[in-house]
């Protein structure tokens, strides 16, 4: 077992950090507060191939995996610029298309995603949150098109992407009543598709939307993989989403601790730096330990996903990483704010504005409670309550 970061991983981490720190949290705040988008940062990362690290070289990508994408995602967040759309675009959409798409589909979409294009992901519905079996957005086959009707909610970044990978119901299992799901790539400007902004208390440039599909026509060749096999395919994309979700928490936590440690080294109240008081130092040290543990599990989860060796172990690790990173991240950000005293709430110190994002990560991309359910049943063999 070798825990030394490989030379190319270290170089990747360093290069991404340099690019992202050139923008920094002030840029992120400025874009958020003005209602702008972080296009300059996204494009800079995309043009250097950092968003497409996990896409095969044959389609213009870097030929790496989720391990490399996790490094990119964490370093960008650690620069104070957590980009949630990396999760849905590079982690889910690109992974699912690469794994299950036809050659034509890969040729059509992966080169764009290996560069600066985004593809967002739509699964959540008002009446089907964590229970994907209840998905009610229906796609009905009509000749060489599907006609899609229904509602999706909390769909991120629909205003920034030309296309979205959408989970639809193409049938019902008569025995269980469960939805038979399929994946369609739908244009975000398709006629009959309306969107409405959901105001949220997350200070980030990416916006969330409710989507209304009214008989939206989608060419049948936009189906990814086999009709009715969508759930299995989506599950394949969910591990990368959890892993990259964990990296956002890890990155923001590192950013917060870096800020707090610098502040605690410099700020003097009674003639000594406040960091010399254990009441200030220990919560930061404790958070540092928790964040490093979460990073370790995140790296393991990425490795297991990339090596495709043990699906159960990969699923467990991805869930544990996501859980640990969100909890450690909240503790770290909280400790960092506390170390700043009143300044912790000032916009200038760039911490409290990230609270909504960090708190979100306890809920999404999978809630803490669903992770605990999963670990209870899968890892501990306890009976399922739902």
């Amino acid at each position: 077992m070798d825990f030394t970061e490989s030379e190319e991983h270290a170089l990747l981490r360093d290069a991404v950090a340099k690019v992202a720190r050139g923008f920094g949290h002030e840029y992120f705040q400025e874009k958020t507060n003005s209602g702008g988008k972080t296009d300059e940062l996204w494009d800079a990362l995309g043009e250097l191939g950092f968003l497409g690290v996990g896409i095969p070289e044959a389609y213009g990508g870097g030929g790496g995996g989720i391990s490399e994408l996790a490094i990119v995602c964490e370093e960008v967040a650690a620069a104070g610029c957590p980009l949630l759309l990396i999760l849905v675009s590079a982690a889910i959409s690109a992974e699912v298309i690469n794994r299950f798409g036809t050659e034509e589909q890969k040729q059509a979409w992966l080169p764009g995603l290996a560069g600066t294009e985004k593809m967002v992901f739509a699964i959540t519905e008002p009446d089907a949150g964590s229970n994907s079996h209840n998905v009610a957005t229906v796609a009905r086959r009509d000749g060489d098109v599907y006609r899609v009707s229904g509602t999706k909610t909390y769909i991120s970044g629909v205003d920034e992407a030309p296309r979205m990978l959408t989970v639809v119901r193409t049938g019902t299992d008569t025995a269980t009543g469960h939805a038979q799901l399929s994946l369609l790539v739908i244009d975000t400007d398709a006629p009959g598709l309306e969107r409405s902004l959901i105001p949220v208390e997350i200070k980030a440039p990416e916006k969330q939307f409710t989507l209304f599909f009214d008989n939206v026509e989608v060419p049948a060749d936009r189906l990814i993989g086999d009709e009715g096999d969508g759930l299995r395919q989506v599950f394949f994309g969910l591990n990368p989403e959890r892993i990259t979700g964990a990296t956002i928490a890890n990155g923001v936590a590192r950013y917060a601790l870096e800020r707090a440690a610098a502040y605690a080294r410099d700020r003097e109240v009674w003639g000594v730096p406040i960091g010399s008081h254990q009441g200030v130092a220990h919560p930061l040290a404790q958070a540092k330990i928790e964040v490093e543990l979460a990073r370790l599990m995140t790296a393991k989860a990425a490795w297991l996903h990339d090596h495709d060796a043990d699906r159960k172990a990969a699923g467990e690790a991805a869930n544990m990483a996501k859980y640990a990173a969100a909890e450690a991240g909240l503790h770290a950000l909280d400790a960092a704010i506390q170390a700043h005293g009143g300044n912790g709430m000032a916009s200038e110190y760039g911490l409290a504005d990230l609270w909504g994002m960090m708190r979100l990560l306890r809920i999404a991309p999978v809630s803490r409670e669903m992770v605990l359910n999963y670990i209870s049943t899968t890892s501990l063999g306890l009976p399922k309550s739902y």
């Binding site: 030379e7 190319e8 870097g62």
Partner: protein, 258 residues
């Protein structure tokens, strides 16, 4: 056109440096990184090679413990290969020894142009580029803020206190570049992956035929003692009564800044 860039791998400047208490040499045991001031030279070399219609950019570096981390960064930017001189006997080398080693390594690459930074960020001697040029018997141009090559010549805008000089020399030549000569590129992921398999030729002092000429024993300088820099004094605080600007002007005049 083949270009050699001399690059130094230095301790991370973000971490406070330490001197060995006995020898007063800079401790260089941990991981070393590419000196930021050399990234400009690497970028310049890549651009000049492209403008000349092709050719290789070769890195030349002297570093302890076979260190290649900093070289990989420059290889990821696009340099084709590297020559690394690493040898226990180089410990304690002074600037002239370093120049001898670099000059001997540069000869092997037989370049059309040699680019260096004006000085390294850890040592700040700032004499190595001129020494290398002298040892190689090549023209030396320092403090370049713009470089062009054409018709077997290098044309340089050379930064001066008052502005810049336009100077020209026949190739091959040694040119030191200032930070800001060009904006260094970030390595792309493809560049990073390609860097892994680019050749790094590791040489010893014996390979270069320099035994007994370099290292601490042959250094012409010795660091006798080291004194910490004076602690910064607290500044002077002037209450502004509406005439505060005059005091600022008087202060700046006394320092001959204005």
């Amino acid at each position: 056109m083949n270009v050699v860039v001399c690059v130094k791998q230095i301790p991370d400047p973000a971490v406070p440096g330490e001197l060995d208490p006995q020898t007063h040499w800079l401790k260089r045991e941990g991981k070393l990184i590419l000196d930021d001031s050399d990234a400009y030279g690497v970028e310049m070399a890549l651009q000049l090679a492209t403008a000349a219609g092709g050719g290789d950019v070769t890195l030349v570096s002297m570093a302890p413990n076979g260190e290649t981390s900093g070289l990989r960064t420059a290889l990821a930017m696009g340099a084709a290969n590297a020559i690394l001189v690493s040898d226990e006997s180089l410990k304690g080398s002074d600037a002239l020894s370093t120049a001898k080693v670099l000059a001997a390594a540069i000869k092997r690459a037989n370049p059309d142009l040699v680019i260096t930074a004006t000085e390294a960020t850890d040592g700040y001697t700032g004499t190595v580029p001129e020494q290398v040029a002298a040892l190689l018997g090549l023209p030396s141009i320092t403090f370049a803020k713009k470089i062009e090559t054409a018709d077997g010549k290098v044309k340089v805008e050379r930064q001066t206190e008052a502005g810049y000089d336009e100077v020209e020399a026949p190739l091959p030549a040694v040119v030191s570049v200032t930070a800001g000569v060009v904006e260094p590129r970030y390595p792309s992921f493809k560049g990073i992956m390609a860097a892994k398999s680019k050749p790094v030729d590791t040489l010893t002092v014996a390979d270069l035929g320099l035994e007994g000429q370099v290292g601490a024993a042959n250094a012409r300088q010795e660091i006798i003692s080291v004194t910490p820099a004076e602690e910064r004094q607290a500044g002077e605080i002037i209450e502004d009564d509406g005439e505060g600007f005059q005091k600022i002007v008087a202060f700046l005049e006394s320092k001959k800044v204005i």
